[in-house]
Symmetry: C2
């Protein structure tokens, strides 16, 4: 399964959330992770994130595509690699 | 077709980019728009965005799923509606 995870998380927690997501997926844009992952690993990932997030303030969207062939991706502008930036 | 658009755009241009995207799609998270759109309208939308972006600094990802039934979405935390916020 291919997933895209986007998030709006308070500054005080965002680095911790990124560190968890980075263990399972690829960081492709400031607020976006993506990658191929099993349902079991995604569940584990989200359980970890769940412990860090404040669910009254933070927001995390998980878009799942069962068959990655049903998904295509285009890029306008630069193809960022935030992994070079920090963490 | 269902599209998810995520962006990293400089503060000086981000409101203009959002105003264009808002004409075609639904703003669901700070840096995310999504919705059902035709290929022709998406092309028109991206042409408009293209004129605003600085392609050496800004980044816009377009994830396309031909059949929305191949996509599912889960939310952790709050389901934001940035349309209430500003613009």
């Amino acid at each position: 399964m291919f997933v895209i995870i986007t998030y709006d998380v308070s500054e005080s927690r965002v680095n911790k959330v990124r560190k968890v997501l980075k263990k399972y997926l690829i960081w492709t844009q400031n607020s976006v992770f993506e990658g191929v992952i099993t349902e079991a690993k995604l569940y584990k990932c989200l359980s970890e994130v769940n412990k860090i997030m404040d669910k009254r303030e933070d927001s995390l969207y998980i878009y799942k595509v069962e068959n990655p062939q049903n998904l295509s991706k285009d890029v306008l502008g630069i193809c960022k690699n935030p992994e070079d930036m920090f963490l």
